[in-house]
């Protein structure tokens, strides 16, 4: 399908706060992105012309922020609200191969909803992973160097080179990725679900702060076994342009291209090809 016909739903509730830059990332690449409040899907308290249906979209993004305040467990309230109203629709959405992206708080929401890691393609009611409080016990806003671990299965990284290093900013207090045991970690590896790992400038195993939260196996982002649902803690939309890179003044620059842009290009090309 044509780029301009790709409809991207940027979902939000109160406390979502990265919707504008997420929306712009798709918009700048020519997609038909739209910020949609959950109430527009639920249909209460809105005008008929503001009403939206999930099935009309080709892609969903759940952006960063502090949905509903994140006073309980990060992402859990947004996840509960989505699941209670749209669980089946969302499962169908994902099963049809349409991409779902969760960044930061969005990643937390996808994990709480059971859409990630979705071992054996099963969306479970009880989360199979957790994004828990950073080891530093603080909010950490700092650039994260990531290595691209998969560029075949995941539809968001196909235009990256495998092993390529990218710099995405992290900004979260609850980003420590955990699964319950080694078996689950092995499963993630075996099924090629690990998409981004934290790394260092010389490629060594990162301690703090290169791994800003203490994530298991330095995991920064994972996809589902099918590769069309991706969650990651660092923010690709914040480095769409290179002049928002943390160290752009030290780099040779070209065409304002930031490290994050490729992620959005990858997924839009996937949708163009598949739908």
């Amino acid at each position: 399908m044509k780029r301009e016909n790709i409809k991207v739903a940027i979902l939000r509730i109160e406390g979502t706060n990265c919707e504008e830059e997420s929306y712009l990332a798709f918009k700048r690449l020519g997609a038909d992105a739209e910020k949609i409040h959950l109430k527009q899907l639920l249909g209460n308290g809105i005008n008929p012309d503001e009403r939206r249906e999930l099935e009309d979209y080709h892609m969903i993004m759940i952006p960063g922020g502090f949905s509903a305040g994140d006073y309980v467990r990060a992402g859990i309230l947004f996840a509960a609200r989505l699941k209670s109203a749209f669980k089946e629709q969302l499962i169908d959405f994902a099963d049809s191969g349409k991409p779902i992206l969760g960044v930061c708080n969005g990643f937390q929401v996808l994990v709480e909803m059971g859409f990630l890691p979705a071992f054996d393609r099963e969306i479970t009611d009880i989360p199979q992973a957790a994004l828990t409080t950073n080891d530093s016990n603080k909010f950490e806003c700092r650039p994260s160097l990531l290595s691209v671990e998969d560029n075949t299965k995941c539809v968001f990284t196909r235009k990256f080179k495998k092993g390529e290093k990218v710099l995405f900013p992290s900004a979260h207090a609850e980003g420590k990725f955990l699964v319950k045991d080694d078996d689950h970690l092995e499963k993630l590896k075996d099924d090629g679900q690990i998409v981004f790992r934290y790394t260092t400038p010389n490629g060594t195993r990162p301690g703090y702060p290169w791994n800003p939260n203490g994530s298991l196996d330095d995991i920064a982002g994972i996809c589902n076994p099918q590769g069309n649902v991706l969650g990651l803690m660092p923010h690709p939309e914040r480095v769409f342009y290179d002049f928002t890179d943390p160290d752009w003044t030290r780099k040779k620059r070209s065409e304002n291209r930031g490290d994050g842009k490729l992620l959005f290009e990858s997924v839009l090309e996937y949708v163009e090809d598949e739908f």
Binding site: E14, H235, F243, T244, T249, R250
Partner: protein
């Protein structure tokens, strides 16, 4: 005598018997009710009601108390400010001083909006909530102009972190606890709102031990044709109150802010601290901006100090109208509140919209869509009175001009030149300058504030081009100013910095204020931005003491001197008096939020050394003027010579530096401030992970040369082949001082090697000293 007579109505209402009150009674009434009016002011109130032939209700008296508080009506400062920093007529001014925030031209179609405020007293009692609601308050000031908030700034001031418990006065919290709580409060509120915190400063000094300062600022952007005023438009406009409910939190906040803190402040005034809820605020921002963009609002004002009492009155009076309010309609957090409490509550997250009757339904509907509670509570009337009803019973009817106007005093001023009583007490010349430099870098007023900065999201909205920390990833140094790119389709940017040098202002308010403004200008110019507007938050002691007001006046004159010469306005600001306890006054602290404009953010320059073999230049002149310097403080030395600003030199330097920038001749640039040249060059090396070899000859003593804080100076890194072209840009003193390269900082002064330290050691001291203390 019984002052309060219960009225026979089905809710709590009293008549206050001031008609029968003598002077002593009047004072008692003011004290007991907590409204904080002086005897003279109470007499004015009595006269007003005597002419009306009746006593006031408790609500009416409270309303007057709020409006006449120092915090609301600037009664002690107006007299000085209007002769100094007000009325600088810069061409970029749009709304200056007259609104809750300053509005300044950004480009042909857009304006940026600046607000800066203090939240000192609440933060001294409850640091987390006080600081959080400070952020909540300042963002509303920007939103109510119709602007999208872009950035927060927060200059903070505390007592020394290592103060022994035994030195903490009764009723005061430890500086470490306050610092930690304030940072968490700003973090949890600011991060949740999704507005980046981009600049600020943290300063430690004994004078803030019992009265910390929390200043918060916000910068936003608006289309010029979407700017909205904090005033109604016409009679019949409907008042809609939106956002959080009204509760007992934040009662008497303004009167609390208009008195000195004392031992029992916590117990007596904890109710003056508001409770913040950013997740109510976040949709409130969205809906307020949406309503304004849709042209549904006549006026909009945020609920700040004084609550509904101030909002309804000020919005109406500004347009020459009056208001009628149905107080029982206000949604409450707790049911049994007395009318006067509802009237003056400063509960957070509330906005007032003035709406045309035909648009009311649409406004209410859009609020509901965002889950924002909104209620019609009154309307605008022709008669310039404020009339309040509860259950259809009139409980207030005041002439707005009288209520809102408030007194103004030209209080006595005594000017003390402290430097006259100081004789130069030099430190002994050190034999190990390396050790001194490392010690300087680890001092809390110089070391890295990374522990603070990284707890704030400074990248959300993806507009942050220059971050607060700059340089090699993982090895960053302190940026001079942050730069944001506010518009999607323009590369034009705003540079933001906050500065003040309290020690210099304390020693010599006039020179210190000039040094403060000079520093903020240096920071903007360092990144390549043209200074464009100032906001000032003037934190001082008790203005009823002539010496304190003398400091205030001299400070205002110092600020004015530079600003008027450069023709840059103070577009917004705030005066916070009574920062004083039994232990004494804070050091006078005029925090400055300065904004500059840069035509293309991609040309902004950071402070980290970029390459090997480049030439380092020093712009400006280094003098033996060590008064108020960090070095003298550390060495327990004293000097009456506070660094001076030569105004002509400053304006030429701005021009020359910006011409070097615009000719793309600057690879890195750093302003020289606290800790002098030695600290500035160390920071550049730390951030670029590249060393430098410096050779200087001059007349003053080596240690003074290294650590002097003379004004109007920068360090610049220039490509060797551009030397000639670079030097041509300068009419002001420019001197080649060395080369970049290696992994050490080496400084040769008058043929003696004073400094020779590895970058690693410099970084270790600078980067980790504060974090290690705070965990």
């Amino acid at each position: 005598m019984e002052y309060y007579i219960r009225k026979d109505v089905p809710f709590e209402l009293h008549e206050v018997n001031i008609l029968d009150a003598d002077e002593q009674d009047l004072e008692s009434i003011s004290r007991e009710s907590g409204i904080g009016l002086s005897k003279g002011e109470m007499k004015m109130v009595k006269k007003y009601f005597k002419d009306l032939g009746r006593n006031p209700t408790d609500l009416e008296l409270e309303a007057i108390g709020q409006a006449w508080s120092e915090h609301c009506c600037y009664k002690s400062s107006k007299c000085i400010l209007k002769d100094t920093v007000f009325d600088i007529d810069a061409p970029q001014n749009i709304y200056v001083i007259e609104e809750d925030a300053g509005v300044v031209e950004f480009d042909d179609d857009h304006a940026y909006v600046v607000a800066l405020e203090s939240h000192n007293h609440p933060s001294a009692i409850e640091p987390y909530g006080g600081a959080a609601t400070g952020i909540g308050g300042i963002v509303r000031d920007v939103v109510c102009m119709g602007a999208q908030p872009l950035a927060f700034v927060d200059p903070l001031f505390f007592g020394p972190l290592d103060l022994p418990e035994s030195d903490i006065p009764q009723g005061t919290k430890h500086p470490r606890y306050l610092f930690d709580g304030v940072v968490k409060g700003i973090r949890d509120y600011g991060n949740r709102l999704g507005i980046p915190t981009l600049a600020g400063m943290v300063y430690f000094d004994h004078s803030y031990t019992s009265n910390c300062l929390v200043n918060v600022g916000c910068v936003g952007i608006a289309k010029k044709d979407e700017l909205i005023r904090s005033r109604v438009k016409e009679s019949g406009d409907v008042f809609i109150m939106a956002g959080g409910r009204t509760g007992r939190d934040g009662i008497h906040g303004v009167t609390f802010a208009s008195d000195e803190l004392h031992e029992e402040s916590e117990e007596e005034d904890i109710g003056a601290v508001q409770l913040g809820d950013p997740i109510t605020k976040e949709p409130l921002i969205h809906v307020s901006l949406e309503l304004n963009r849709a042209g549904l609002l006549q006026g909009m004002k945020d609920f700040g100090g004084g609550g509904l009492s101030c909002v309804a009155g000020e919005m109406s009076l500004a347009a020459g109208y009056g208001a009628e309010i149905q107080l029982d309609k206000v949604p409450l957090k707790e049911e049994d509140m007395a009318p006067w409490e509802i009237w003056v509550s400063e509960s957070q997250e509330r906005m007032m919209y003035a709406v045309k009757p035909e648009n009311v339904d649409e406004v209410l509907r859009r609020c509901e869509k965002w889950d924002v509670e909104a209620t019609v509570i009154g309307r605008v009337i022709e008669e310039p009175n404020i009339k309040v009803y509860f259950d259809n019973i009139m409980i207030m009817n005041l002439d707005l001009e009288f209520q809102t106007g408030g007194p103004s005093y030209c209080r006595p001023v005594e000017i003390i030149d402290k430097t006259k009583n100081i004789t130069e007490k030099e430190p002994e010349e050190p034999d190990n300058h390396n050790k001194i430099l490392l010690e300087m870098l680890s001092r809390n007023n110089i070391n890295s504030k990374e522990w603070v900065i990284r707890q704030y999201d400074h990248e959300v909205r993806a507009n942050t081009v220059l971050k607060p920390l700059q340089g090699v990833i993982g090895k960053e140094g302190p940026g001079d100013a942050a730069v944001i790119k506010p518009l999607e389709h323009s590369f034009k940017g705003i540079a933001i910095t906050t500065d003040v040098n309290p020690r210099m202002v304390y020693l010599h308010p006039y020179k210190g204020a000039m040094a403060t403004l000079d520093e903020s200008i240096r920071n903007l110019v360092a990144v390549g931005a043209m200074p464009h507007s100032f906001a000032d938050c003037l934190n001082f002691g008790n203005p009823e003491k002539p010496k304190r007001l003398g400091d205030f006046e001299q400070t205002a004159k110092g600020l004015e001197k530079i600003a008027r010469h450069l023709n840059i306005s103070f577009v917004s600001g705030n005066v916070s008096f009574y920062n004083e306890t039994k232990q004494g006054s804070i050091k006078p602290t005029p925090s400055i939020l300065a904004c500059g404009l840069i035509e293309d953010v991609r040309e902004a320059v950071t402070m980290d050394i970029k390459g090997i073999g480049n030439t380092l230049y020093l712009i400006g002149k280094t003098k033996d003027e060590m008064g108020g310097s960090e070095y003298y403080e550390m060495m327990d030395a004293e000097s009456p010579r506070v660094p001076e600003v030569k105004i002509e030199l400053l304006s030429s330097s701005i021009e020359d530096m910006l011409s070097a920038h615009s000719n793309k001749l600057t690879k890195s640039c750093h302003d020289i401030s606290s800790g002098g040249i030695a600290v500035a060059i160390s920071e550049m090396c730390i951030a670029g992970d590249i060393g430098a070899e410096i050779t200087i000859e001059d007349e003053i003593r080596g240690d003074k040369y290294l650590f002097s804080e003379s004004n109007t100076r920068w360090l610049v890194e220039v490509d060797e082949e551009n030397e000639e072209e670079f030097e041509k840009c300068f009419s002001v003193p420019v001197r080649k001082i060395g080369k970049t390269g290696g992994k050490r900082l080496i400084i040769d002064y008058n043929s003696k090697k004073l400094i020779d330290v590895s970058i690693e050691s410099l970084r270790d001291k600078w980067k980790n000293s504060l974090g290690n203390k705070m965990g």
